[in-house]
Amino acid sequence: MPSELDTRLFDPGRINLLIGILLFLAFLIINMLRARAGHSFFIRPLAGLQALDEAIGRATEMGRPILYMPGLGDMSEVGTLASITIMTRVARKVAELGCDLEVPCYDPMVMAIMDGVARQAYREVGREHDYKVGSIYYVSAQQFAYVAAVTGMMLRDRPAANIYMGSFYAESLFLAETGNLTGAIQIAGCDKVTQLPFFVCACDYTLLGEELFAAGAYIGREPVQLATIAAQDWAKALAIAVMLIVLLLTAFGHPELRRILQVS
């Protein structure tokens, strides 16, 4: 970019992205209309989410707490938003069964929102007074201070279930391996590809990448939510088709079409 100030109102190098977003939006609207018209959508079972109820049940029977970790992402991370959706399900179930829930948070804003979500869940099942103030708390915004605090808590309190949902980084193996040592049932979901092998190694169930984002729709089973998964599948099919076409054309001597996949 030249040193002069940019006065363009549109970056033509991003036209393909704009078209992609508009297409995705169109897929979303079409599928939502289909859902409203009564079309039913299939969503394959996700073992990790099915296991949530069992884990909470087990914790209730054992009289031990459930540890829910929303990851190290802030509110701008989509993984954190997905984690909040899953927390709604966990909090409702915990409120129904009456076991203890501990949510150590890395980000104070995530803590405040998680607290609101949990209170609402307790309110919805009519157990507002059972909600323990301070069960969702801020620990530290320092990665390894957070690790030290949470692993220490795991070893002292021995939670029956550890649920890791959100964006995790280098702390993933510390947490999951310590949880494994304590014998807790462990369920993880992470959108950071690099950390997935660590969770797969140390946890009983792992939601891989996009499964974390599908969790909201899976849990709610609302037709409109399920329609968004269908839209995602359409987008994926389109992406595969475009990649195949570009690949074939490149192989047959027309590499110029590759440009449609380049973003500035």
Partner: protein, 206 residues
């Protein structure tokens, strides 16, 4: 009751998407300004965090819950660092700066160094030839572990090339597939939030 926040989310979300496509310098200044706002909001959230930290640990000390001496150390550190920051500032050479680089940094480094031990222990437990897939994973892991370090080259000159191929072809193919899935999932979640389909963050569970 949720109309206000949903509308606000829609307006801010749509504006930020639009700004991504507008390279005009004034638009980018607005973008920077909005990012600054996010930083300011975060600073206020830190107050909430500090209050939470104080109340949770004070309660643990009062009720003598297991590990309460750690809570005492936490509160002492919270008060001590706050005092140092207020009294002598937060520069590199200030007492707080020195405390950060001489206490906090070595502790964080030590914690990170422990990762090697955790990886060894997890690998010993997880990589076992229970079936065909696990055997494939095990063999690949051993090739990677040996081939990525100098000793691999010492044993067999072809090791680095083999590991490069493993990283460049099967690994990259799988990573790209997962990354595309994650990307589309993220776009879908973002659009759901901007359009008000997903409202979990507002405390609505249904």
């Amino acid at each position: 009751m949720y109309l206000g926040p949903i509308l606000l989310t829609f307006v801010v979300g749509a504006t930020l998407i639009a700004l991504y496509f507008i390279p005009h310098h004034q638009a980018q200044e607005i973008n920077s300004e909005l990012l600054l706002w996010a930083t300011i909001v975060y600073a206020f959230a830190l107050i909430l965090g500090s209050v939470s930290l104080w109340s949770v640990h004070a309660q643990r000390i009062r009720q003598r819950i297991s590990g309460w001496p750690f809570s005492l150390v936490t509160l002492f550190a919270l008060l001590g660092t706050t005092f140092m920051g207020v009294a002598w500032g937060i520069g590199e050479e200030s007492p707080l700066g020195r405390f950060y680089s001489m206490v906090n940094s070595p502790l964080a480094s030590t914690m990170f160094a422990l990762l090697a031990f955790f990886i060894a222990s997890a690998a010993f437990r997880a990589f076992r030839a229970r079936n065909v897939e696990a055997t494939l994973l095990l063999v690949t892991a051993i090739v990677m572990m040996i081939g990525r370090v100098s000793v691999g080259e010492f044993i067999w000159r072809g090791f680095p090339g083999l590991t490069e191929w493993l990283l460049d072809v099967p690994n990259l193919a799988a990573k790209r597939a997962i990354a595309i899935g994650v990307g589309l999932g993220a776009v879908s979640t973002a659009l759901k939030i901007i359009l008000g389909i997903e409202r979990g963050y507002l405390g609505r569970t249904r």
